[in-house]
Amino acid sequence: MDWTWFHRFGSPPHFYRIAGTLIPWFAWLAALCGLAGLIGGLGLAPPDYQQGDGYRIIYVHVPAAVLSTMAYAAMATAAGVGLIWRMNVAHAVAASCAAIGASFTFLALVTGSLWGRPMWGTYWEWDPRLTSELVMLFLYLGYMGLRGAIDDTARADRASAVLALVGVINLPIIHYSVDWWNSLHQGHTLLKFAKPSMPPSMLVPLLLLMLGFVLYFAAIVLVRARGEVLRRERNARWIAELLGAPS
């Protein structure tokens, strides 16, 4: 297995350039998929026999929920790589995932409760998925709080990396324990949304939007990571060349 691409990818100037070229691609593809998904979801997909048009909130709720978990996993992976191979670029990527991950978690929570309102009659119902999202939001806030409390970037990177790894190990346990807790007190919630059983006309827009959100996430993380890489970069030579001509 030839690992040079891994180490080359880890070198800041190289990463800065690659990220620069990838961002427009991700951004445009995300916009394309998002738009197609929106048109499909809001326009073409038939109303649900049970929830009428109210179910269309899933086209934003489900991608946001998926993204919130994926962002944490991406953050933890980048943190792990940064900690093990001492790669500043990986820490830069991890730092870039936190804010957007937390915002998606918040989005998933609000859209979830908005979707729940017509179904359950209340804005907040201790639905296991929403409760897990809430706990994950606290994990994000803890991560960002720890990063904010440490001034030295190198130390903040490593300490938050340990927290991200501990968090990612706990996420499935928290998810399981919340499901377990919920199944004890009430029967399964009436909102059992089995995705696969959706007809293709409903499912395709959802998959498109999910892909759009993932590409959007990648683009935003790379934009932030380019900045974070500069903050962590010590020898000024390549920065002067690169920033001399404002890209």
Binding site: L83, V135, M136, F138, L139, L141, G142, G145, L146, A149, I150, D152, A154, R155, R158, A159, V162, L163, L165, V166, G167, I169, N170, I173, I174, Y176, S177, V178, W180, W181, L184
Partner: protein, 232 residues
Amino acid sequence: MKVPSAAVVSPGKAGWRLVQRDLRLGFRRPGEWLQPLVFFLVVTTLFPLATSPELSRLRDMAPGALWVAALLSSLLALELLFREDGQDGTLEQLAVSGLPLPWLLLAKTCVHWLLTGLPLVLAGPLVATALGAPYASIPGVFAALLLGSSALSLIGAVGAALTLGLRRGGVLLALLVLPLAVPVLIFGARATSLAMAQDPMTAPMYLLGAIAVLSATLAPLAAAAAVRISLE
């Protein structure tokens, strides 16, 4: 080349000596590690005052009150774990001692649990009966708290190591540890409520035991990494 004349101590014995040191320190300052216990008693007495004196109404709230109070007091006790050793430089000595740091931190966490966790476990059944739990449920409540408080101390150790040396680490420590302690809270409270209803509580106890074992193996590794980072 200079070679030490005295025999080198094995990690196991070094860990035991560290336990002796911390126990001796603990007995020299009993006030410090009794405070979490007092806090636990105060918080659990607030619940009846906040709701109603009738035992019947207190009973279904007792497990929740007991475990939230146990969680908060073990959180408060975490200040005692690394802060002083970090300030006076002894933690630094452990980091460069050539002894396995995770093992030493596990030893320290065990002593911390003995001094601050065990009193909660002993007081737990007492408080439970005060909140309307039948006497027969005492062993169950005791067992659940025993497993749960040890898991809390271990998970808390990681949080304490991460916030070591930070100016306002207290609130941040709570924000870091509480989400990680959610599973312990859920299974612990469930086990306690089953105990109080004299139903079989094996399911939550198994899960609680699993978390305690997982914490005992992984938390010291994470805490050691976090301590080394905090000492930078």
